[in-house]
Point group: C2
Chain length 414, copies 2
Amino acid sequence: MKDFIQTLSADQTKELERQYALYANGVQEIIPADEFKQKIAKSLVEKKPLKVKLGLDPSAPDVHIGHTVVLQKLKQFQDNGHIVQLIIGDFTGRIGDPTGKSTVRKQLTDEEVRHNAQTYFEQFGKVLDMDKVELHYNADWLSKLNFEDVIQLAGKITVARLLERNDFTARISTGKPISLHEFFYPLMQGYDSVILESDLELGGTDQHFNVLMGRHLQEHYGKEKQVVMLLPLLEGLDGVEKMSKSKGNYIGINEDPNEMFGKMMSIPDELMPKYIELATDYTMDEKNKLKDDLQAGRLHPRDAKIRLGKTFVRMFHGEEAAEKAEQHFRAVFQKGAVPDEIPSMKWNGSGTAAVVDLLVGLRLLSSKSEARKMIQNGGVKLNGEKVSDIKLEIEIKDDTIVQVGKRKFVKLTL
Amino acid sequence: MKDFIQTLSADQTKELERQYALYANGVQEIIPADEFKQKIAKSLVEKKPLKVKLGLDPSAPDVHIGHTVVLQKLKQFQDNGHIVQLIIGDFTGRIGDPTGKSTVRKQLTDEEVRHNAQTYFEQFGKVLDMDKVELHYNADWLSKLNFEDVIQLAGKITVARLLERNDFTARISTGKPISLHEFFYPLMQGYDSVILESDLELGGTDQHFNVLMGRHLQEHYGKEKQVVMLLPLLEGLDGVEKMSKSKGNYIGINEDPNEMFGKMMSIPDELMPKYIELATDYTMDEKNKLKDDLQAGRLHPRDAKIRLGKTFVRMFHGEEAAEKAEQHFRAVFQKGAVPDEIPSMKWNGSGTAAVVDLLVGLRLLSSKSEARKMIQNGGVKLNGEKVSDIKLEIEIKDDTIVQVGKRKFVKLTL
C-alpha cells in the first residue's frame, strides 16, 4: 500500500489524528493499526469514504445494549461520512444445519430471514441513520457459487489454520465432532468482504478468527486487505458474563422505559465506566469527565447510574420517555412509595389463600419454590409490609397491594 | 437389507457360491463380505445385474500390467453379466489445484480430458468389452452442484474422519499443510457412487479410504450402500515397489511385444505366483495348476516366465505376436545368437572412436558415466566380444554389431 500519510497536508494530518483517536477509543484491538491510519489517510486524500462492514446473523434479531457497542462505533464512522455496510447472513440462515443437530442453526425460510432483517433494521435505526447504510444479503452472491468456485475458495485456506479457531481446537481436543460444513461459515463471512471490498470489519473480540478471514481471503483474491477492529464484549447485569438474551442478563433496546431504567440501576458499580465508555452516545470529553468524576468521588455511583439509565432510555425511546422513567424511578424507589399506576389483577380464588399460591397464581413468580425463596429473602411485601412466614395464609381483600422485589406491583381486585 | 440368500433355490445357491469364489479369489479385502453375498443373491433373485464401479484419474492415462489387476477383476463381473461403470474424474481434472502448488493436479482442458479418456478406453478395450461398459464423466453431475448442495454434502462427514486418511494424518503430524479443497476429492469420488447407485466399488488397497467414502455417503443420501473390494497392488519388475510409470518398473500394455516379453522374463522368481494370480486371464483352475507345478518343481521358473511373457503379449497384442515374441526371445537369449533383424545406424564420426562416445552417440545409453558403468558391469559387447576397458578406442567398420545389456543391438554403417 502506498504511504498516504506522507502526502497529507497539515490540516489533513490533524484530521487523521482526530478520526483515529475517535475510532480507536474504547476498542480492544485494531489489526493492524498502521494500515488503519493509512486507510483513513487515503480516504482523506482521495476524498472517498471508507467501507465499514458488520455481519449479522439473521437467526437472533433481538438487539440489546451489548450490541450497541459496535453500533455506536459504526455511528462514529457514519458521522464522519464513511459508509456502513450491514450484511445479513441470509445464505447461512437458508442452509441451516445440514446435520440437523444444531438448534441454533435451524433452517429459516426466506420470509423469516427478511422479517428478522427488518426487525434488525428497525432497532438499528435507533442508533444509525439507516438511509445512509448499505444493506446486503449475502445469498445474493453466495447462492451463485458453483462447486468449482467453492473448491477455488477452499483452496485458499489450510485445514490447520481453520483448526486454530478456538472453538474448533477445543472440540478436537475433547473429541466432539466438527462437521466439515462448519469450516465454511468463516469462509462465507470472509468471502463477503471480498465481494463488498470492505476497508474495515468490526466485530466483538469473539469474532477475532472470522473477521481476520475476510482479510486473508481478500489478499488471496487480489483485493486490498481490510483492517479488523475488535470491540470489547460488554458484561451483562450480573457483571460477569457477556450480555446475552439466553443468559437473561441483558437490557433490550426495545424494552419498556421503566424496565430499562430499573435494570440499569441494578448493574454493579464497577461496570459503570465500561458502560459509559462503550454503550453511550456521549462525546469522548463527556465520557472522560463522567468517569473522572466517578473515580474522584465527585459523583455518587447511584447518581451516575440514574444519569446512565436516563441516557439509555433517551437513546432508544426519546427525551420525554427518559424524563418520565426517571420520575417513575424516583417515586418508587427513592421515596419507597408505590408507583402511581399499578396494574390491577382479579383474584378468582376463595376468601383466603396461601401467599405462595397467590404469588404463583398472579404469575409474579413462576413456581412455589421460587415464591418461598423470595419470601425467605425478604422480597415479598403485602401493602408495604414484608412477609416473613413462607406458610402465611391471608384473607383476600380489594386493593391489597402485592409487591415482589423492587419493581413488580399488583393490586388485587375481587 | 433383506436376506436374499435364504430365498435362493438350490441351483441359485450353487451359482452364488460359484460367483462369490470367483470374485473373492485374489482379492485383498471385501467390506463387508456378507453384504457382498447378499448383493449377488439379490441379483440372482431379481435377475438384475450388479453395478460395479471403477473411478479413473484423467491425468495419467498410460495403462500398465499393474492396472490390469483391477481390469481382470472387472472382466470377471462382465463375463457374468454384471455392469461395469467406468467414471472419468474429469471434474477434478478441470479444477486442477487451486493453490497452484501441485504438479500432479495441473488443470486440464476439456479437450485433454476427453483425449486422455479416449486413451484409457482404447487400452481397456484389450481386457474389457467396451461396448458393454457404462462410461461416465463426473463433471456431468458435480459441475451442477451449487454452494448449498456442497454444504449439504460437507455436512455428511466430520473433519476427524477425513483426518483419519493416512496421507492426511501423516501431513498433519509432520506439519505439512493440507489445503481445505483437498478434503473434497474423496467426497467427490464418494458422491459419484451416490449418483450412479453403484453396488460395488473396486480399488487398490491404497484406495481404502476413498472407496469407503462412497459407502458412507450413499447411506447418508438414503441409498443402498455399496460394497467395497480392495485389490492387492502388484509389485513392479524390481519386485519391491508398486508398479508405476514414474518408478520405471512397469510393463505398459501398449509396449512393443518383444519389450513386453523381455521385461516379463526379468521379474524375480518369487513374484511369479502373484503375477499369475492377479494379472493373467487364466481360469482359476489354470492359475492353481501353474502355481502348484511351480512350487512342486515340476515347472522350471524360466519356462513359467516364458509362458507368462507369451500370455501377456497374447492378451494385449494377439496370438500371432505372442508366437513371434517367443521365437525372438529364444533366438536371441536362449541360443545366445544375435537376432535376425538388427536396426542399422549410421556413424558420422571419424575412423576411430572411444567406446563410451559410441554408446552415447548411438543413444544406447544416455551419459558417459552410464556407459562406463555398463562396461564395468560387463554389459557391453562388440561383435559378440565383451568390452572390459572403459577407455577402449576402436576403429569403426561397417557391420560392427554393438550390444548393450541383453536386448539392445545396433549394427553400424559408415
